[in-house]
């Protein structure tokens, strides 16, 4: 069966520090991968999505970036965090095709201080 792992679960980082969040999927090949962010009490904002290794589409221009170095690995990064980067970061995967349900990881709660 397919599983998705996301870590760390919680993170507290000072303003200006770098960030690296990792997500890996097991039990499937060639998944579509997504990063969403959820501010406190708000909706799910799509940040990046990827349909293959090295193929990243960005939805929101900001100080975040994403990379997909391997088929089932998706990394979210920042060189310098801002206070506004605080939130709940969710990685998700889906199979190829227009109407695949998304399966979410347990998320990383990031607090920038």
């Amino acid at each position: 069966s397919q599983t998705i792992h996301q870590w760390p679960a919680t993170l507290v980082q000072p303003v200006g520090s770098p960030l690296s969040l990792e997500c890996t999927v097991e039990g499937t090949s060639n998944p579509n991968l997504y990063w969403y962010r959820q501010a406190a009490g708000r909706g799910l904002q799509l940040l990046f999505y990827s349909v293959g290794i090295g193929q990243i589409s960005s939805e929101v221009p900001q100080n975040l970036s994403a990379s997909r170095p391997q088929d089932r690995q998706f990394i979210l990064s920042s060189k310098k965090l801002l206070l506004s980067d605080s939130g709940f970061y969710l990685c998700a995967w889906g199979t190829r095709g227009n109407n695949s349900p998304l399966h979410f990881g347990n998320g990383t709660r990031l607090t920038v201080t």
């Binding site: 708000r42 799910l44 589409s57 939805e59 227009n98 109407n99 349900p101 998304l102």
Partner: protein
């Protein structure tokens, strides 16, 4: 592009019914529904792919009106476990030519004894 959900919040007593609506200004090809418990990741409920399609499991069902570009989620005889935030998601063509799932702002549902 973001679909519009209404109402923003609903408070119910156990056993009462609720309807959550999701509409889009653009043509809808499919609609996803997810539920998120507080502090957890969203969980997939169902996808509706065709206009006029209706689906359901337990006492949660949904309909899709392609002409009106809207979908509705019906919660019948609500249970305490139904509490959470419900999101609808619609698929749009991304800048890279691939499909992406964009979520509405969510509807908070609280069921009380």
């Amino acid at each position: 592009q973001q679909p519009v959900q209404s109402p923003q919040a609903v408070i119910l007593r156990e056993g009462e019914d609720a309807v959550i609506n999701c509409s889009s200004s653009k043509a809808l090809y499919s609609v996803h529904w997810y539920r998120q418990k507080h502090g957890e990741a969203p969980v997939f409920l169902m996808i509706l792919l065709k206009g006029g399609e209706q689906k359901g499991h337990d006492k949660i069902s949904a309909s899709f009106n392609e002409k009106k570009q809207q979908s509705s989620l019906y919660l019948t005889a609500s249970q305490l476990s139904y509490s959470g935030t419900y999101f609808c998601g619609t698929v749009f063509r991304g800048s890279g030519g691939y499909n992406k799932l964009i979520f509405g702002a969510g509807t908070r549902l609280a069921v009380h004894p």
